[in-house]
């Protein structure tokens, strides 16, 4: 992964931000890799966490002059860093799943064997994708279910 993306994730960790990876990267982990335009970060919408996100982005070097802590407390507000495909979207809400519901089920994966990063669980991702309901979301649900099914179906004979 790009060094800067890892640096941003490290900054979130260093500032003890409560977040989880959702979107295309989460689908790729739970099913198989697919193209995505950005790394989606779902954050807990609380005052303490919003301040931690703001500090993390500032330490990362993002220009914060037009951004405030309150921006991370608005449900439909999205802050995007960078441009696709090297972009990070920071989301306070996602469809169908609350942060608190999903937090206990997050799974920690290492990015490039270096940066520990919490990912939304496959079950919560399916709930989110079904609630979002766009064609890509439904295709993602199918991929996750197929990946699960493949583990239990018989291997083909040589």
């Amino acid at each position: 992964m790009d060094r800067d993306l890892k640096e941003l994730l490290s900054a979130l960790n260093a500032h003890r931000v409560r977040y989880m990876v959702v979107g295309g990267y989460a689908v790729g982990v739970h099913a198989q890799p697919r193209v995505t335009k950005d790394l989606d970060i779902f954050i807990e919408m609380s005052h303490g966490n919003a301040a931690a996100v703001y500090s993390a982005l500032a330490s990362f070097g993002a220009p914060m002059s037009d951004i405030s802590v309150e921006d991370f407390l608005k449900p439909t507000s999205v802050v995007r860093i960078g441009v696709p495909p090297l972009a990070v979207d920071i989301l306070q809400t996602i469809d169908g799943v609350t942060f608190s519901d999903a937090w206990d089920s997050t799974i920690e994966y290492l990015v490039d064997d270096e940066v520990a990063t919490p990912y939304i669980s496959a079950d919560d991702l399916i709930t989110n994708k079904l609630a979002a309901g766009r064609l890509q979301d439904l295709a993602d649900v199918e991929a996750i279910r197929q990946a699960r099914g493949a583990q239990t179906r018989k291997l083909p004979d040589g």
Partner: protein, 66 residues
């Protein structure tokens, strides 16, 4: 190239084998592959992103209600 030969009875078996492959490698490798696939796809569209880093640009926008 792995020159082993597999015979599949259906397209479903082919897809299953693909999913089993991706799930057999580490999550870290899958994450790296997502990044590489995405950068490669954008390169085919004429957008070269690798090596440029995450631009320190930041925008805020509102999602439409759904």
């Amino acid at each position: 190239m792995n020159k082993s030969v597999h015979k599949f009875a259906s397209f479903q078996e082919v897809k299953d084998e693909e999913y089993r492959y991706w799930q057999s490698i580490s999550p870290s490798e899958r994450i790296a592959a997502i990044y590489e696939h995405s950068v490669d796809a954008y390169r085919m569209k004429g957008i070269v992103a690798d090596g440029q880093g995450l631009k320190r640009t930041l925008v805020r926008f509102e999602r439409a209600p759904r």
